[in-house]
Amino acid sequence: MSAAAEILVPGRAGEGEALVLTAPISFWGGVNPKTGRIADVRHPQHGEVIAGKVLFLPGTIGSSSASAVLMELVHNGRAPAALVLHEPDAILLLGLIVAREMSWETPIAVRLDRGAFDAYRGGAVSVGADGAVAVAV
C-alpha cells in the first residue's frame, strides 16, 4: 500500500506505527503537550500516545492553541513521526511552520483523503520526504 500525498509542510521523513484517529481532535485540551498522550476523555483514542507515531487526522476541532501544543511536542521530542491530514489545517500546522522558524527539526505533514486512512491502520508506516505514504516492510 503506497500513495503519493501532497506535502503540506516539508520536514523530516518519518516512520512509525500508524495511529489512525477515528474522530476529530482538539490538540489543546486533547493532547498532553509534555507527553503526547491523548487526554480528551471523550475521544475514542483516549489514552493513546501520538509521540513517534505516524498520526492520521480525519479533522481538527476546538482550540486555537493547537499550534502551541504541537510546537511544544516538537520542542520536547514528543511529536508524531509524521502527520497525515485529510485537509490542510491552518491552526495545527502553524505549530510546524513556527518551529521551523525557530530552527527546530519538524516532522513532515502531508495531505491524504481520509477514505484512504483505513489501509494503514495497525501497520508500520513510512512517510518519505517526497510525501510518499507507504506501509513499511
Binding site: L8, G62, A66, A68, E72, I91, I97, W104
Partner: protein
Amino acid sequence: MAMRIVAESARLLGAPRLIPIASAHIDGALYHGDSGTLFAEKLVEGGAKVAVRSTLNVGALDLMGCSRIRLEEPQRGMARRMMEAYRKLGCEQSWTCAPYQAGHRPALGSDVAWGESNAVVFCNSVLGARTNRYGDFLDIACAIVGRAPDYGLHRPENRRGRLIFDVSCLSPSFLASEIAWPVLGSLYGREVGNAIGVVTGVAGHPGEDALKAFGAAAASSGAVGLFHIAGVTPEAPDVATILAGPEPEAVIRVTPQMVAKARAGLSTAAAAKTIDAVAIGSPHLSAIEFDSLERLIAGRRLAVPIYACTGRHALASLDKDGRRKRLEASGVVIVADTCVVVTPIMPDIGNGVLMTNSGKFAHYAPGNTGYAVLYASLADCVESAVLGRPVFTDIAA
C-alpha cells in the same frame, strides 16, 4: 520572521493576497511549555512591535493576585517571561478570553485577526467583524505585520449559511432557560463541524452572555468560526438573506431527545454523590453574570468553593463597591487574568468532581484538570456548592 509566518500560512491556505487588519486578539501568551516563550522572546529580540490594536487572551498566571496558581519553578518563571514578552511587543494587558466585553469590539464588516476559539466565534457572529480562526503565533504575526491572508471568513461569499439548525420544536421554557445556550452550542458544534449554520426558531434576542456561551460551547465541540441566528445576529436579519443558495444544503431539526443527549454528554460523572468544587466563567464572567452569582448565593456560606473566572475589566467594578469581599467571604475564589482549565489552580486531589454551567469548561476540564464534570445551570451550581452535593432542577427541552 512574522512576515514569513504570515506568508507561509497564506501559501498553505491558498490565499492570493494579504489584506490590512484593524485589530488582533492574541492567544499565544498562555504557557504550555518553553517553546512558546522562546518564540515570543525571539520576536522581542528582533525589535518587533504590533502594528494594530492587540488585546491579550488569558495567561497562565493571575497577575492581579486574586487566586493562588500552583505552577512551580521553573515553569512559573517561564510563564512570567512569556507574558512579559507579549507586553514588550506592545499588546494590551487585557488578559481575557472575553475581550469583546472588555472594550474591544471591532466594527461590523471590518477585517481583524483574532485567536481564542470563543472570541473568534463571538467576533464573527455577534459583532459581524471578519476573522478566521487564527491559531497561536499567526495571530501575533498578523498583528506585527498588520496584515492577514485573504481567505475564508474574510471573504463575504464564505460567510453565508449552508445549513439550518432549527430549534422551533423545543419548548419556550427550555429556550428561555440559562442551560439552553451552552447545551445547544455543544450540540451545534458536533452537528455542523466547520460548516456555517443558521439557527432558526429563536423568538427574540437571548442576550449577549447567552450568545457568548453558545459560541464557546460550539467552538469546543466543533470547528465553528461563525454562526448566524435568524433575526438576532447582525448578518442574518432573516434566513433568506444569509443563506448561500435558495435552499439549505441540510436542515437539522433539533428534537428534545437530541438536547437531552447533548446535555448528558456534557457530564462525565453522572453518579457522583458529592462535589469538590464549582467552576464558572468560561468565557470570563461579565459584570452582569457576577450580579446573578451574587443574587443566587444570597449571602450564604458555600460548602465547596466556586471558582469564578474573569478578566481585570470586570474586577474593577467588583472592587468598587465591596462586592468582591462579600463574594470571597461566602467562599467564592475569584480568578483573574486566567482560568482553572488553563493553569493549575484547583487542588490536585485525583477523582475530584467539578460542577460547571459552562459548556466549554465541561468539555476541557476532564482532560486538563483530572476532575470529572457535572453540567448544571448556574442556579443548580450555586445550590450544589452550598450543600456540597449535586442538586439538579429538571428543565425539560
